[in-house]
């Protein structure tokens, strides 16, 4: 494997990590706000807060890790994406600021501030929408070079049906991932009411998820034939993903083995996400930027890889400790004691 491919794989892995844990977080915010609206607050809020409070900061680090990493390994992306993404990313940053501060503010100060909860829930839907636009842009056709500077064509972007199918996919995926995970967590906590509610949400959101995936394939065929053909070449990856999806739904319908459902869910998105990534190869931004012409110099690449390996040696045991304490600790999950600072 060349250093370029290694670099991009590592970053893709971290983006995948962010996708899963941020989806849980974003979806939870939405469900929390929704339960406030329909008067079911008591059922969901406790479960959601117990899981999310200790991990929201870690969630954010995955994102930071990805964008620092991509600029490190592929400095030219700063030029292309940095110039063009000022507006969508700034908006996402604003929303992230609202979310990031929420848990701290909520758990200690303005407990039950309704306006803030709604903003928080809404932000959870708008952030994936704003960030997923980047995926549409990477397919090409929305950036033109004017006077040597890349310029984003907003009109083309927002009238494209590809953009909207990707946004729809992002939203449905967020809600589906979140609901499935929280079903498992609520079940572990022994909270039957929350389990049933979340299980229902998971089943509901699986429908737009399936539809939008098909929509994207149709759109991509019109928009970027090369990418579409390569996706067909890797059809088996998407096939495995689809099978896992179907089994997850069956398990949810059976009302048991929620732990297996979560692993299948992760598998489903892993295969789809890596299938998408591999078929996108070698482009970072079609057709302007490939992973080869944007790669950093070899010395830097090697030192980044070394830093990465050393960093992982530090992170993996630490993350394991977090999981042990907050995800797999029965007393904590069931809220037997108040472990609050």
């Amino acid at each position: 494997m060349s250093l370029e491919v290694l670099g991009v794989s590592v970053l893709w892995l971290f983006l995948f990590g962010y996708l899963i844990i941020a989806s849980i977080d974003f979806g939870a915010g939405f469900f929390n706000a929704y339960s406030l609206l329909v008067g079911k607050k008591r059922i969901l809020t406790v479960i959601i807060q117990r899981y999310l409070s200790p991990v929201w900061e870690i969630t954010n680090v995955f994102l930071v890790f990805f964008f620092v990493g991509i600029v490190g390994f592929f400095p030219r992306t700063a030029y292309f994406y940095g110039t063009t993404l000022l507006v969508p990313v700034s908006i996402a940053l604003g929303l992230l600021a609202i979310r990031g501060s929420y848990y701290a503010f909520e758990s200690y100060g303005s407990r039950g501030h309704k306006g803030y909860s709604f903003m928080y829930g809404l932000a959870g839907l708008l952030i994936p929408a704003a960030l997923s636009v980047v995926l549409a842009i990477s397919e090409g056709g929305f950036i033109t070079i004017i006077d040597d500077n890349p310029v984003l064509d907003y009109a083309a972007l927002f009238t494209s049906s590809l953009t909207w199918s990707i946004v729809l996919l992002a939203l449905a995926a967020v809600l589906y991932i979140s609901a499935t995970f929280l079903t498992w967590y609520a079940n572990k906590a022994g909270d039957r009411e929350a389990t049933n509610l979340l299980r229902k949400y998971a089943l509901i959101w699986s429908i737009p998820l399936a539809i939008s995936v098909i929509g994207i394939m149709v759109e991509l065929r019109k928009h970027n034939v090369i990418h579409f053909d390569r996706m067909i070449d890797f059809w088996y990856l998407f096939g495995i993903s689809a099978v896992m999806f179907v089994i997850t739904i069956i398990i949810l319908l059976m009302r048991r083995h929620y732990g297996v459902a979560v692993w299948l869910l992760i598998g489903q998105f892993a295969f789809a996400f890596f299938g998408y990534g591999i078929s996108h190869y070698p482009y970072l931004l079609y057709p302007h930027l490939t992973i080869y012409d944007s790669f950093t110099n070899e010395t830097m690449a090697i030192s980044l890889v070394i830093a990465f390996v050393l960093g992982l040696l530090l992170l993996i045991p630490s993350l394991y400790l977090v999981f042990k304490l907050f995800l797999f600790d029965k007393d904590y999950v069931r809220g037997k004691e108040d472990h609050h600072a």
């Binding site: 900061e57 994406y81 940095g82 600021a97 501060s101 100060g109 830093a307 630490s318 609050h340």
Partner: protein, 448 residues
């Protein structure tokens, strides 16, 4: 093609974000160490008050960390959004510490989450204390790495430019550039110092508001002692920083000191008003500038007139320099008087007016941090990469920076007000007297 409008607003937006972020970042670097020290003393002395002190600071710390994290994420992305040309070039050389910073941050985030939510899980406080070590180390290390990046912008090293191409890149040389030691030292020490004085100010404020609890007396004395140590350290490293500037960025020191003509035995200017090259109403300390620059009162100090005019920074940085240094020495004085007074039982250190001085010390230290950063950053104008790339060449070509500036103004306003309101409410609703009473009831004794 340079888009002047975009350059101007990009500078403004970066300045706004950093100015806001630095308040929370400084607390984020310094406070974990303070929590750690408080908890350690609590364990060693077997004094529940210090443990409670650690716990209460940690609770407030969550709020500031949250704002620090989101504004830090903002500046991290803004580097690429607003300065894409800079990041494209510098990314090749300086990506390593940037990358390592995220690891330090990751490490800190993980253990902070664990520390905060395991207060009642460990019977043994020592075990819980161990969790604080990675938090404090992670916080300080992320400051170290990110300051390395900033130091690189002041003293770019570890690469060569041949025919417009960057070659011969050495990431380690870039990290350990000449500006690094003094910058990192100064940033860490000032963060510790400011955090100590902010916490001391809170204790003094509560005492002024009528709390007679011994908890605040212990807290105040502890943080004044720590503040004294760190402020003296700050002054020493500040002196090294000046010597660094003489050797590598003399125009910055010359502009900060309004030192126009090269001369021997140069005097140090404090305050004053400038009219061209004439300075009025300034306090002149003869030979002090030469002494500061070269450890020799008769040494020659290069004047600003030796540099091309389009490569010198704006002259208003003199006021920032004065502000920073004055506050620094003032705080050394205040904390020294308090600590000596405590040992020699001087009465007046317990008087109202002196407590107000200590209260003022918190915000003043924060102002000094801001002034110091503005001095450091404006002082390398017009360069973004000193002697390699000017700010104007680095900025984005996007047309929407002005709108984004408004957006971020709004965000920081919400975060700023929100954090202050939440922090105030948190401690008002649960004063120390009540918390001790609650714990007393819970555990059936043990603390008074």
């Amino acid at each position: 093609m340079v888009n002047d409008n975009a350059v101007f607003f990009s500078r403004l937006l970066t300045e706004l974000t950093l100015t806001f972020h630095i308040i929370y970042a400084t607390i984020g670097v310094g406070v974990p160490l303070m929590i750690m020290i408080a908890q350690w003393i609590g364990i060693k002395k077997n004094d529940e008050h210090y443990i409670l002190l650690a716990r209460r600071i940690a609770r407030g710390f969550v709020i500031t960390v949250a704002v620090g994290v989101v504004t830090g994420t903002a500046i991290g992305l803004q580097l690429s959004l607003l300065w894409p040309n800079f990041m494209q070039l510098a990314g090749n050389v300086i990506a390593l510490p940037l990358f390592m910073e995220t690891f330090a941050f990751f490490f800190e985030a993980i253990f902070l989450g664990i520390y905060l939510y395991t207060w009642d899980r460990f019977e043994n406080q020592k075990k819980h204390f161990l969790l604080l070590i990675p938090v404090a180390v992670g916080a300080s290390m992320s400051a170290v790495f990110i300051t390395m990046v900033n130091a690189f912008m002041n003293a770019p090293r570890g690469f060569e430019v041949v025919d417009g191409q960057i070659v011969n890149i050495q990431p380690i040389v870039a990290m350990f550039n000449p500006a690094m030691p003094t910058k990192v030292g100064h940033v860490l020490l000032t963060a510790y110092m400011t955090s100590a004085f902010v916490l001391a100010a809170i204790a003094a404020f509560r005492m002024l508001k009528g709390s007679k609890h011994i908890y605040y007396k212990k807290s105040l004395y502890l943080f004044m002692k720590l503040g004294l140590v760190f402020s003296i350290g700050t002054a020493v490293v500040g002196d090294f920083s000046a010597k660094y500037l003489v050797a590598y960025q003399p125009e910055k020191l010359a502009a900060a000191e309004w030192h126009f003509e090269t001369e021997k035995g140069a005097s140090l200017l404090v305050f004053g008003i400038r009219d061209g090259e004439d300075v009025k109403y300034a306090i002149r300390i003869p030979y002090a500038l030469s002494l500061l620059a070269h450890n020799n009162p008769f040494a020659e100090v290069t004047g600003l007139n030796e540099f091309p005019e389009d490569e010198t920074p704006p002259l208003y940085i003199h006021f920032l320099f004065d502000l920073m240094v004055t506050i620094g020495f003032f705080m050394v004085g205040v904390s020294a008087i308090y600590v000596i007074g405590k040992l020699r039982r001087w009465r007046f250190i317990h008087s109202k007016w002196f407590r107000w001085v200590i209260v003022a010390g918190g915000p003043l230290s924060m102002i000094a941090i801001e002034a110091g950063w503005w001095l450091a950053e404006v002082g390398r104008q017009p360069w973004i990469l000193v002697r390699y790339m000017k700010v104007a060449e680095a900025a984005t070509s996007s047309q929407h920076v002005d709108l984004m500036l408004l957006l971020f103004c709004l965000i920081y306003l919400i975060l700023g007000i929100g954090s202050v309101v939440v922090l105030r409410r948190m401690f008002k609703r649960n004063p120390i007297e009540r918390e001790i009473a609650d714990r007393h009831a819970e555990k059936g004794g043990g603390i008074s």
